[in-house]
Amino acid sequence: MSVATPQIYKFPPLYTPQTNKLIRKQQLQTWESIILQSCAQLSKWCIGRNGKVYNQATGELLLSIFENEEIQRSCNIEFQQEIWAFMLQNGTALQLKEFEDSNMMAILWESLDSWSSTILEWCETSGKLNQVITIYEICQSDENSSCKFYGMPTSFCLLVLQRLVDCHRATLLKDQGKVVGVKIV
């Protein structure tokens, strides 16, 4: 595994749901932070419901968070579901429309608000205020390859931009019924 994990990741009982309620909650929180940290380290916005992350270009398996080969432990499906439910409830994971059938979860290792202010800051520093910007430009443009939000999935980006719309800092532009651009002021 290429990501750094806390010591508790090698603690065998972490992979078995605990019976004590308080401990179970603590356990879920631990899993949540492990998932958030790993995704942040890999700059991955999405992770499979089975905890696997693949390199999109090569198809190579980058990470399988729920399995720890080193200590021969893994979370069973029910426990995985419970972790996802916990994260969905906390708003640290999202079920995005475009992933509904492919069993992918979007991971918010930074909150939507934090992402929206990052994008706002980017607009300010790169002089994109009051201009039309396409969503593709934000997430994929070569100029932004060093930005934190480079490679962000479109629907994820829309959620972030919606925050800006809500506070009257942005207008979404549609083309043929699909949001493709945004104007941020």
């Binding site: 090698k10 603690f11 065998p12 009982p13 078995t16 401990i23 070569d142 390859s145 930005c147």
Partner: protein, 232 residues
């Protein structure tokens, strides 16, 4: 990845400039803050006597310290008796109680002194003896803090229910491999299955042990959470 259009010309976008400036500002602020911290510590050393004698002054000073992120503990110097020596231990007591509260949900209220020391106090130059002394000072509080020893290793219990002898023995077994199991208990203590099972179950419910049902031989293992700090 190859870049197209204007982006292909150079990597230095407008961000470099902006982030450079921000970095610079950050750096300067950091520097100023650290200078301020150093001065504050100096000040504390110089006015040691006043600080010790005037409680109001001391309280205000401590508030200022915590506002700019200095842990009051780092200001204490045992040898020069900065503030009052007792205050130093009171601060450690507060820290210990805080830590016990925060970790209660992981370890069921039992923490090894080693874990306390390594994880929380080592970088503040606080020795094991200081922690022990502070814990002694906690006893009059009657808050259920108690030290006990398992295989020459000291543990602090911060929940009121006392450990039974059986529970202590299980924790002893756990301190060898990190876990206990019915087989292990039978081999080492010659306990019957029923006895082991009931004690282990009790410890699970009170959060002293974590269960692991994925061991290679299929037997449930009961892990002691204080083992976590030993994992590499």
């Amino acid at each position: 990845m190859k870049k197209f259009g204007v982006a292909a010309i150079g990597d230095s976008g407008p961000f470099d400039l902006a982030s450079n400036i921000l970095d610079l500002q950050n750096h300067e602020l950091d520097e100023q803050l650290s200078i301020f911290q150093v001065k504050l510590v100096e000040f504390a050393k110089q006015h040691n006597k006043e600080l010790r004698d005037v409680p109001q002054f001391r309280a205000k000073f401590m508030r200022m310290c915590s506002a700019i992120g200095i842990d009051p503990l780092s200001l204490f110097d045992k040898n020069s008796h900065l503030f009052h020596i007792d205050d130093f231990y009171y601060q450690i007591c507060v820290k210990i109680i805080e830590i016990c509260r925060n970790t209660k949900d992981v370890n069921g209220g039992v923490i090894s002194l080693e874990e306390l020391h390594v994880n929380y106090f080592k970088n503040m130059n606080i020795e094991m003896e200081d922690i022990q002394k502070a814990i002694e000072m906690l006893t009059p509080l009657d808050g259920g803090f108690e030290l006990f020893t398992i295989r020459k290793k000291e543990f602090l219990r911060s929940v009121p229910n006392e450990l039974t002898d059986d529970q202590t023995k299980i924790l002893e077994i756990c301190s060898i491999l990190g876990y206990a199991s019915i087989t292990l208990l039978r081999a080492n203590l010659n306990w019957k299955k029923v006895r082991s099972q009931s004690v282990l179950d009790g410890m699970l419910t009170s959060g002293l042990l974590w269960i692991d049902s994925q061991s290679s031989d299929g037997e449930d293992l009961y892990w002691d959470p204080s083992w976590i700090i030993k994992l590499e």
